[in-house]
């Protein structure tokens, strides 16, 4: 176990309304999410001395958020980044609290991901070429979407390990099933059967539209503090057992090597940090920008051996009563999309047993894993307990 184990906790979570067209700026969404998280923790805005966020030039700043909450924090930070940024900022927050610089940090992600700046849409091709590492080797060939880039990894991995289209479908069907129990999920009321899935044409082989995450306007926020201060908060703290905040693929140009992903390097570190093994995990939030990304991470994090991941999901293990209930609010495939933070909110609620006796609660869950995936190149993860 690492020296941070059980010494820091997530004490508040909150979100704004989720929609296709918020009609407001990301600042308004961020304020709603922040107020909800602060209230959830039983704190006041002035108790937060650090504000952090991640964005892709599509959001408001931490400074703006604090200003409009009427407080003046000691520290603000906004980073450019998508998946795994939550884990990275939690690690930064812990470091700053550990050093005595800060006491309590609020981390948020706010975006009009559907009505405003859409991820992977409307970008200038020359900007993409110039800004993406090795961009001239992909953009002239029409490869501008993460679905295409990750698809190259997926086709090869499926070929090597025997994963089929139906296995991808089991990820989608399981998560859509969770969404039917979550009235706030985008695809609540829109269940997906395997037959429907298999009849859906490819958008970009091997992916159908169901294998792609959705797009939504929303903000999410979480609050991190020390275990001592967590005792004074209103809700039951969820303790951080261990983290591996941001590991990289060995080569900067990940499209030169499809055989490994950054998650392969995160897994041993996060388990060592937390002092637990894959079999100790009761509930999971696995970054799901694409269905295949879940399968590849189940392999990386040791939930099923390479070559048996397809069977693992086909047996129903991602479902609420499976061996590893995963993305139990519906995930980014069917609940909402904030570059992963909605999955963090859900695992905190599961570990608090906030859903009580309802059918949404994973029974007796004590330990959970939350993974982030910026791409095959960068990943992070944390293990939490109640």
């Amino acid at each position: 176990m690492s020296k941070i184990t059980d010494r820091y906790a997530i004490v508040g979570v909150g979100e704004s309304e989720r929609s296709k067209n918020s009609g407001v700026t990301p600042l308004h969404l961020a304020l709603d999410a922040a107020r909800a998280a602060i209230s959830d923790a039983g704190l006041e805005a002035k108790d937060i001395d650090g504000f952090m966020s991640y964005n892709e030039n599509d959001s408001c700043t931490s400074h703006q958020l604090a200003t409009n909450l009427g407080v003046r924090p000691k520290y603000v930070k906004d980073i450019l980044g998508g998946g795994s940024s939550t884990e990275l900022l939690i690690a930064d927050a812990i470091s700053l609290i550990e050093s005595g610089e800060l006491n309590t940090v609020l981390i948020f992600r706010s975006m009009n991901g559907r009505s405003g700046s859409r991820v992977g849409g409307g970008w200038d091709p020359n900007m993409l070429q110039a800004n993406i590492d090795g961009g001239s080797y992909i953009i002239p060939y029409g490869a501008a979407s993460p679905g295409q880039w990750f698809g190259l990894f997926a086709t090869r991995h499926m070929y090597e390990t025997g994963i089929t289209q139906e296995h991808l479908g089991h990820v989608c069907v399981s998560f859509y099933e969770h969404a039917q129990r979550n009235p706030k999920a985008f695809f609540h009321g829109r269940p997906l059967t395997m037959e429907d899935y298999l009849n859906t044409p490819h958008l970009s082989y091997p992916f159908t539209k169901h294998d792609f995450c959705l797009e939504s306007d929303e903000a999410n926020a979480i609050i991190v503090t020390s275990a001592e201060q967590a005792k004074d908060c209103k809700t039951k703290p969820v303790y951080i057992m261990g983290m591996s905040s941001r590991q990289c693929h060995p080569h900067s140009h990940y499209w030169s090597d499809l055989s490994q992903v950054a998650s392969d390097y995160v897994a041993p570190e996060v388990y060592q940090s937390a002092g637990v093994k894959a079999e100790d995990i009761d509930v999971a939030s696995i970054y799901d920008c694409f269905s295949w990304v879940v399968l590849r991470q189940l392999e990386a994090y040791g939930f099923a051996p390479r070559g048996e991941v397809g069977d693992f999901v086909a047996e129903g293990n991602l479902r609420i009563d499976g061996k590893l209930p995963t993305n139990t609010a519906g995930g980014m495939l069917s609940e909402g999309y904030t570059h992963g933070m909605n999955n963090v909110l859900e695992i905190v609620r599961q570990l608090r047993h906030q859903y009580g006796e309802t059918d949404r609660q994973v029974k007796n869950c004590e330990i959970g894993i939350c993974t982030g995936w910026a791409g095959p190149d960068i990943a992070g993860a944390m293990i939490l307990r109640n």
């Binding site: 992977g120 091709p125 020359n126 993409l128 070429q129 110039a130 590492d133 090795g134 961009g135 001239s136 080797y137 992909i138 953009i139 002239p140 060939y141 029409g142 490869a143 501008a144 979407s145 679905g147 295409q148 698809g151 190259l152 990894f153 086709t155 090869r156 070929y159 044409p201 490819h202 958008l203 970009s204 082989y205 091997p206 080569h251 900067s252 140009h253 499209w255 030169s256 090597d257 499809l258």
Partner: protein, 139 residues
């Protein structure tokens, strides 16, 4: 009609590759210290960090095998609306096994693509002075 799709942008790191492509040849960056190829090229070797790099010319006879591929049924960039379905493949080179190069497989029915299929590099003249390497299935 002018070429509608993105044209490879040359920069200080990739210019030798694209200059060679314009002459229907393939050049790859190679590390003189660890002997690995470095593709996509850069100012430092991604295997060992060395800056002792040079370029090797493979000429115009470049063959390989499909290592992975996708088939897009929607254009994800402007200019590709007439190229649907679009096959994008990563190809392992026969003469440099650790190098894999992404391009379209042109003149190819999507159901003819499979991993391991033998392909050869061809060059599309896209403007008066620019050419784009592509893959074609070896019949």
């Amino acid at each position: 009609m002018t070429y509608q799709k993105p044209i490879p942008l040359k920069n200080i790191d990739n210019a030798p590759y694209w200059d060679a492509a314009d002459h229907h040849e393939m050049k790859l960056q190679k590390c003189n210290d660890c002997s690995n190829y470095n593709h996509p090229p850069g100012p430092g070797c991604s295997k060992c960090g060395s800056t002792n790099l040079s370029w090797k010319n493979f000429g115009s006879d470049v063959k390989g095998k499909v290592y992975s591929y996708i088939i897009s049924y929607r254009p994800f960039l402007p200019g590709f609306q007439n190229d649907i379905p679009l096959v994008i493949a990563q190809v392992e080179l026969d003469n440099a096994k650790d190098v894999r190069i992404i391009a379209n497989i042109i003149d190819c029915e999507p159901d003819k693509v499979e991993i391991g299929k033998s392909v050869r590099m061809v060059w599309e003249d896209i403007t008066d002075d620019r050419a784009l390497p592509q893959w074609k299935i070896n019949e």
